[in-house]
Protein backbone atom coordinates (compact mmCIF):
# COMPACT_ATOMS: atom_id res chain seq x y z
CA UNK A 1 0.00 0.00 0.00
CA UNK A 2 2.67 2.61 0.82
CA UNK A 3 4.39 1.58 -2.39
CA UNK A 4 1.36 2.32 -4.53
CA UNK A 5 1.00 5.75 -2.88
CA UNK A 6 4.65 6.43 -3.69
CA UNK A 7 4.20 5.15 -7.22
CA UNK A 8 1.09 7.16 -8.03
CA UNK A 9 2.67 10.35 -6.74
CA UNK A 10 6.18 9.94 -8.12
CA UNK A 11 5.31 8.15 -11.36
CA UNK A 12 3.22 10.96 -12.90
CA UNK A 13 5.72 13.52 -11.61
CA UNK A 14 8.55 11.66 -13.35
CA UNK A 15 6.64 11.51 -16.65
CA UNK A 16 5.66 15.19 -16.41
CA UNK A 17 9.26 16.19 -15.67
CA UNK A 18 10.46 14.10 -18.63
CA UNK A 19 7.91 15.80 -20.90
CA UNK A 20 8.99 19.16 -19.54
CA UNK A 21 12.55 18.28 -20.49
CA UNK A 22 11.47 18.22 -24.12
CA UNK A 23 9.44 21.40 -23.92
CA UNK A 24 11.58 23.84 -21.95
CA UNK A 25 13.78 26.12 -23.96
CA UNK A 26 16.90 26.36 -21.83
CA UNK A 27 19.31 23.43 -21.59
CA UNK A 28 19.93 24.18 -17.91
CA UNK A 29 16.24 23.70 -17.13
CA UNK A 30 16.29 20.43 -19.06
CA UNK A 31 19.22 19.30 -16.92
CA UNK A 32 17.38 20.14 -13.69
CA UNK A 33 14.24 18.29 -14.82
CA UNK A 34 16.36 15.28 -15.79
CA UNK A 35 17.94 15.35 -12.33
CA UNK A 36 14.44 15.21 -10.86
CA UNK A 37 13.51 12.23 -13.07
CA UNK A 38 16.65 10.45 -11.89
CA UNK A 39 15.79 11.09 -8.24
CA UNK A 40 12.28 9.65 -8.73
CA UNK A 41 13.88 6.61 -10.34
CA UNK A 42 16.10 6.25 -7.27
CA UNK A 43 12.91 6.20 -5.15
CA UNK A 44 11.47 3.51 -7.42
CA UNK A 45 14.63 1.40 -7.14
CA UNK A 46 14.59 1.55 -3.36
CA UNK A 47 10.86 0.78 -3.29
CA UNK A 48 11.56 -2.30 -5.42
CA UNK A 49 14.20 -3.73 -3.11
CA UNK A 50 17.19 -2.42 -5.05
CA UNK A 51 18.70 -0.44 -2.20
CA UNK A 52 22.23 -0.42 -3.60
CA UNK A 53 21.12 0.71 -7.05
CA UNK A 54 18.98 3.44 -5.53
CA UNK A 55 21.94 4.90 -3.68
CA UNK A 56 24.20 4.49 -6.72
CA UNK A 57 21.57 6.22 -8.83
CA UNK A 58 21.67 9.27 -6.58
CA UNK A 59 25.46 9.30 -6.20
CA UNK A 60 26.44 8.50 -9.78
CA UNK A 61 23.61 9.98 -11.82
CA UNK A 62 22.27 12.98 -9.96
CA UNK A 63 25.66 13.54 -8.41
CA UNK A 64 28.39 12.89 -10.94
CA UNK A 65 26.72 12.66 -14.34
CA UNK A 66 24.38 15.63 -13.97
CA UNK A 67 27.22 17.62 -12.43
CA UNK A 68 29.28 16.86 -15.53
CA UNK A 69 26.37 17.91 -17.76
CA UNK A 70 25.97 21.22 -15.96
CA UNK A 71 29.73 21.75 -16.04
CA UNK A 72 29.82 21.29 -19.81
CA UNK A 73 26.75 23.50 -20.19
CA UNK A 74 28.54 26.29 -18.36
CA UNK A 75 31.70 25.69 -20.42
CA UNK A 76 29.95 25.66 -23.78
CA UNK A 77 27.46 28.34 -22.85
CA UNK A 78 23.99 28.87 -24.13
CA UNK A 79 23.59 29.66 -27.80
CA UNK A 80 21.09 29.58 -30.65
CA UNK A 81 20.92 25.79 -30.56
CA UNK A 82 18.71 26.12 -27.50
CA UNK A 83 15.85 27.37 -29.67
CA UNK A 84 13.00 24.99 -30.37
CA UNK A 85 12.48 25.94 -34.05
CA UNK A 86 12.63 22.89 -36.27
CA UNK A 87 15.28 22.86 -38.98
CA UNK A 88 13.93 19.91 -40.96
CA UNK A 89 10.43 20.68 -42.14
CA UNK A 90 7.74 18.35 -40.83
CA UNK A 91 10.15 16.64 -38.45
CA UNK A 92 8.14 17.37 -35.33
CA UNK A 93 4.74 15.97 -36.45
CA UNK A 94 6.47 12.86 -37.79
CA UNK A 95 8.44 12.41 -34.56
CA UNK A 96 5.34 12.84 -32.39
CA UNK A 97 3.31 10.43 -34.53
CA UNK A 98 6.08 7.85 -34.42
CA UNK A 99 6.41 8.34 -30.66
CA UNK A 100 2.68 7.83 -30.10
CA UNK A 101 2.86 4.71 -32.25
CA UNK A 102 5.90 3.36 -30.43
CA UNK A 103 4.59 4.25 -26.99
CA UNK A 104 1.18 2.73 -27.76
CA UNK A 105 2.87 -0.43 -29.00
CA UNK A 106 4.99 -0.73 -25.87
CA UNK A 107 2.10 -0.02 -23.51
CA UNK A 108 -0.26 -2.46 -25.24
CA UNK A 109 2.52 -5.04 -25.30
CA UNK A 110 3.12 -4.70 -21.57
CA UNK A 111 -0.63 -4.79 -21.00
CA UNK A 112 -1.01 -8.08 -22.87
CA UNK A 113 2.12 -9.79 -21.62
CA UNK A 114 1.86 -12.02 -18.58
CA UNK A 115 4.53 -13.61 -16.52
CA UNK A 116 2.44 -16.75 -16.22
CA UNK A 117 2.78 -16.65 -12.46
CA UNK A 118 2.70 -14.24 -9.61
CA UNK A 119 5.61 -11.84 -9.32
CA UNK A 120 8.08 -13.42 -6.88
CA UNK A 121 9.46 -10.42 -5.03
CA UNK A 122 13.00 -10.05 -3.74
CA UNK A 123 12.49 -11.08 -0.12
CA UNK A 124 14.30 -14.36 -0.65
CA UNK A 125 17.06 -12.98 -2.88
CA UNK A 126 17.66 -10.09 -0.49
CA UNK A 127 17.59 -12.31 2.58
CA UNK A 128 21.31 -11.80 3.28
CA UNK A 129 21.07 -8.13 2.33
CA UNK A 130 20.83 -6.48 -1.08
CA UNK A 131 24.46 -5.38 -1.22
CA UNK A 132 25.71 -8.83 -0.18
CA UNK A 133 23.50 -10.50 -2.78
CA UNK A 134 24.73 -8.20 -5.55
CA UNK A 135 28.34 -8.62 -4.46
CA UNK A 136 27.97 -12.40 -4.52
CA UNK A 137 26.67 -12.32 -8.11
CA UNK A 138 29.17 -9.69 -9.22
CA UNK A 139 32.18 -11.66 -8.01
CA UNK A 140 30.99 -15.08 -9.11
CA UNK A 141 28.74 -15.26 -12.19
CA UNK A 142 29.54 -11.80 -13.53
CA UNK A 143 33.21 -11.55 -12.62
CA UNK A 144 34.39 -11.49 -16.24
CA UNK A 145 31.98 -8.71 -17.37
CA UNK A 146 33.00 -6.84 -14.23
CA UNK A 147 36.67 -6.91 -15.30
CA UNK A 148 35.75 -5.91 -18.85
CA UNK A 149 33.79 -2.97 -17.48
CA UNK A 150 36.82 -1.82 -15.50
CA UNK A 151 38.85 -1.87 -18.72
CA UNK A 152 36.07 0.14 -20.37
CA UNK A 153 36.18 2.76 -17.60
CA UNK A 154 39.93 3.22 -17.98
CA UNK A 155 39.57 3.46 -21.77
CA UNK A 156 36.84 6.08 -21.37
CA UNK A 157 38.97 8.12 -18.98
CA UNK A 158 41.91 8.06 -21.40
CA UNK A 159 39.61 8.82 -24.34
CA UNK A 160 38.18 11.84 -22.57
CA UNK A 161 41.67 13.11 -21.77
CA UNK A 162 42.79 12.67 -25.39
CA UNK A 163 39.68 14.37 -26.77
CA UNK A 164 39.68 17.25 -24.32
CA UNK A 165 43.41 17.90 -24.68
CA UNK A 166 43.96 21.05 -26.67
CA UNK A 167 47.12 21.41 -28.70
CA UNK A 168 48.09 24.92 -29.78
CA UNK A 169 48.49 25.23 -33.55
CA UNK A 170 50.52 28.43 -33.27
CA UNK A 171 52.95 29.11 -30.45
CA UNK A 172 51.74 31.47 -27.76
CA UNK A 173 52.75 35.02 -28.70
CA UNK A 174 55.35 36.50 -26.38
CA UNK A 175 55.41 40.01 -24.99
CA UNK A 176 57.91 40.98 -27.68
CA UNK A 177 55.62 39.68 -30.47
CA UNK A 178 52.73 41.65 -29.04
CA UNK A 179 54.81 44.79 -28.85
CA UNK A 180 55.97 44.46 -32.47
CA UNK A 181 52.39 43.77 -33.55
CA UNK A 182 51.25 46.96 -31.81
CA UNK A 183 53.81 49.03 -33.72
CA UNK A 184 53.08 47.41 -37.11
CA UNK A 185 49.29 47.56 -36.93
CA UNK A 186 47.37 50.27 -35.15
CA UNK A 187 48.29 53.90 -34.75
CA UNK A 188 51.21 55.30 -32.79
CA UNK A 189 48.76 56.22 -30.07
CA UNK A 190 48.24 52.55 -29.19
CA UNK A 191 51.91 51.62 -29.70
CA UNK A 192 52.78 52.62 -26.16
CA UNK A 193 50.03 50.42 -24.80
CA UNK A 194 46.55 51.33 -23.63
CA UNK A 195 46.16 53.95 -20.91
CA UNK A 196 45.41 52.71 -17.43
CA UNK A 197 42.07 53.48 -15.79
CA UNK A 198 41.47 56.03 -13.09
CA UNK A 199 41.85 59.77 -12.83
CA UNK A 200 45.24 60.69 -11.46
CA UNK A 201 45.15 61.99 -7.88
CA UNK A 202 41.37 62.04 -7.84
CA UNK A 203 40.04 58.53 -8.37
CA UNK A 204 41.75 55.26 -9.19
CA UNK A 205 38.95 52.66 -9.42
CA UNK A 206 39.13 50.33 -12.45
CA UNK A 207 35.65 51.28 -13.64
CA UNK A 208 36.46 54.98 -14.05
CA UNK A 209 37.97 55.82 -17.46
CA UNK A 210 41.12 57.88 -17.58
CA UNK A 211 40.91 61.49 -18.71
CA UNK A 212 42.76 62.54 -21.85
CA UNK A 213 44.74 65.81 -21.83
CA UNK A 214 41.79 67.65 -23.37
CA UNK A 215 39.52 66.46 -20.54
CA UNK A 216 37.54 63.84 -22.44
CA UNK A 217 37.30 60.33 -20.93
CA UNK A 218 39.22 57.51 -22.66
CA UNK A 219 36.97 54.39 -22.85
CA UNK A 220 39.97 52.30 -24.01
CA UNK A 221 41.43 52.55 -20.52
CA UNK A 222 38.63 50.36 -19.13
CA UNK A 223 38.62 46.57 -19.35
CA UNK A 224 36.67 45.25 -22.33
CA UNK A 225 34.46 43.17 -20.04
CA UNK A 226 33.38 46.15 -17.94
CA UNK A 227 32.70 48.18 -21.08
CA UNK A 228 30.48 45.52 -22.69
CA UNK A 229 28.63 45.00 -19.41
CA UNK A 230 27.95 48.72 -19.18
CA UNK A 231 29.66 49.00 -15.80
CA UNK A 232 31.73 52.01 -16.86
CA UNK A 233 31.35 54.99 -14.55
CA UNK A 234 31.36 58.60 -15.64
CA UNK A 235 34.67 60.30 -14.91
CA UNK A 236 33.40 63.79 -15.66
CA UNK A 237 32.82 64.40 -11.94
CA UNK A 238 36.54 63.91 -11.28
CA UNK A 239 37.64 66.53 -13.81
CA UNK A 240 39.36 69.55 -12.38
CA UNK A 241 37.18 72.64 -12.54
CA UNK A 242 39.89 74.46 -14.45
CA UNK A 243 39.84 71.90 -17.28
CA UNK A 244 36.06 71.99 -17.31
CA UNK A 245 35.97 75.73 -17.89
CA UNK A 246 38.75 75.60 -20.48
CA UNK A 247 36.98 72.88 -22.45
CA UNK A 248 33.76 74.86 -22.25
CA UNK A 249 35.50 78.02 -23.50
CA UNK A 250 37.01 76.19 -26.47
CA UNK A 251 33.59 74.97 -27.46
Amino acid sequence: MPESVLFWIMGPLAVIAALGMLLVKKAVHSALLLAWVMITLAFFYIAQGALFLGIVQVVVYTGAVMMLFLFILMLVGVDASDSLTETIRGLRPIAITAAIGFGGLMVSLIGRATLGRESVGLEEANAAGNVQGLAYLLFSTYVFPFEVVSALLITAAIGAMVLAHHQREVPRSTQRDLSEQRFRSGSLATAAGLPGPGVFARHNAVDVPALLPDGTPAPASISETLRSRGDMRDSAQYQLDQIKTEVAEEK
Binding site: S4, Q48, S83, A95, A125, V149, L163
Partner: protein
Protein backbone atom coordinates in the same frame (compact mmCIF):
# COMPACT_ATOMS: atom_id res chain seq x y z
CA UNK B 1 1.03 -3.24 -6.05
CA UNK B 2 1.55 -4.91 -9.40
CA UNK B 3 5.15 -4.28 -10.55
CA UNK B 4 3.83 -4.09 -14.13
CA UNK B 5 3.02 -0.42 -13.45
CA UNK B 6 6.72 0.38 -13.34
CA UNK B 7 7.08 -1.06 -16.82
CA UNK B 8 4.50 1.41 -18.12
CA UNK B 9 6.45 4.31 -16.63
CA UNK B 10 9.61 2.87 -18.11
CA UNK B 11 8.03 2.61 -21.58
CA UNK B 12 6.75 6.20 -21.38
CA UNK B 13 10.12 7.56 -20.27
CA UNK B 14 11.89 5.67 -23.04
CA UNK B 15 9.48 7.04 -25.65
CA UNK B 16 9.90 10.61 -24.37
CA UNK B 17 13.66 10.20 -24.50
CA UNK B 18 13.50 8.92 -28.08
CA UNK B 19 11.39 11.91 -29.15
CA UNK B 20 13.87 14.25 -27.46
CA UNK B 21 16.79 12.76 -29.39
CA UNK B 22 14.96 13.41 -32.67
CA UNK B 23 13.41 16.81 -31.90
CA UNK B 24 15.97 18.75 -29.88
CA UNK B 25 18.96 20.42 -31.56
CA UNK B 26 21.28 21.18 -28.68
CA UNK B 27 23.78 18.32 -28.54
CA UNK B 28 23.86 18.41 -24.74
CA UNK B 29 20.07 18.09 -24.49
CA UNK B 30 20.18 15.24 -27.00
CA UNK B 31 22.69 13.57 -24.71
CA UNK B 32 20.46 14.08 -21.71
CA UNK B 33 17.61 12.41 -23.60
CA UNK B 34 19.87 9.40 -24.28
CA UNK B 35 20.55 9.26 -20.53
CA UNK B 36 16.79 9.32 -19.93
CA UNK B 37 16.36 6.32 -22.25
CA UNK B 38 19.13 4.40 -20.47
CA UNK B 39 17.53 5.17 -17.12
CA UNK B 40 14.14 4.02 -18.35
CA UNK B 41 15.60 0.69 -19.39
CA UNK B 42 17.33 0.41 -16.01
CA UNK B 43 13.96 0.75 -14.32
CA UNK B 44 12.70 -2.16 -16.45
CA UNK B 45 15.67 -4.29 -15.42
CA UNK B 46 15.08 -3.60 -11.73
CA UNK B 47 11.38 -4.39 -12.14
CA UNK B 48 12.13 -7.64 -13.95
CA UNK B 49 14.59 -8.59 -11.22
CA UNK B 50 11.82 -8.14 -8.68
CA UNK B 51 9.28 -10.11 -10.75
CA UNK B 52 11.67 -13.01 -11.20
CA UNK B 53 12.94 -12.99 -7.64
CA UNK B 54 16.65 -12.89 -8.42
CA UNK B 55 19.26 -10.15 -8.53
CA UNK B 56 20.59 -10.67 -12.06
CA UNK B 57 18.47 -7.82 -13.36
CA UNK B 58 19.98 -5.48 -10.81
CA UNK B 59 23.49 -6.53 -11.80
CA UNK B 60 22.68 -5.77 -15.44
CA UNK B 61 21.28 -2.36 -14.41
CA UNK B 62 24.50 -1.76 -12.51
CA UNK B 63 26.57 -2.52 -15.61
CA UNK B 64 24.32 -0.23 -17.65
CA UNK B 65 25.07 2.58 -15.22
CA UNK B 66 28.81 2.08 -15.62
CA UNK B 67 28.57 2.00 -19.41
CA UNK B 68 26.35 5.12 -19.34
CA UNK B 69 28.93 6.92 -17.23
CA UNK B 70 31.65 6.06 -19.77
CA UNK B 71 29.40 7.17 -22.59
CA UNK B 72 28.74 10.52 -20.92
CA UNK B 73 32.43 11.16 -20.30
CA UNK B 74 33.48 10.45 -23.89
CA UNK B 75 30.39 12.07 -25.43
CA UNK B 76 30.76 15.31 -23.53
CA UNK B 77 34.45 15.42 -24.46
CA UNK B 78 33.41 15.09 -28.12
CA UNK B 79 30.85 17.89 -27.69
CA UNK B 80 33.52 20.15 -26.19
CA UNK B 81 35.89 19.33 -29.08
CA UNK B 82 33.18 20.09 -31.65
CA UNK B 83 32.35 23.30 -29.82
CA UNK B 84 36.00 24.35 -29.99
CA UNK B 85 36.11 24.04 -33.77
CA UNK B 86 32.55 25.11 -34.68
CA UNK B 87 31.73 27.50 -31.82
CA UNK B 88 28.34 25.84 -31.62
CA UNK B 89 26.76 22.99 -29.68
CA UNK B 90 24.02 22.39 -32.24
CA UNK B 91 23.81 18.96 -33.81
CA UNK B 92 22.87 20.56 -37.16
CA UNK B 93 26.13 22.45 -37.44
CA UNK B 94 28.34 19.38 -37.31
CA UNK B 95 27.67 18.36 -40.93
CA UNK B 96 31.12 18.65 -42.50
CA UNK B 97 31.04 15.11 -43.88
CA UNK B 98 27.81 15.80 -45.79
CA UNK B 99 29.29 18.48 -48.04
Amino acid sequence: MNPMNYLYVSALLFTIGAVGVVVRRNAIVVFMCIELMLNAVNLSFVTFARMNGNLDGQVVAFFTMVVAACEVVVGLAIIVTIYRSHRSASVDDASLLRR
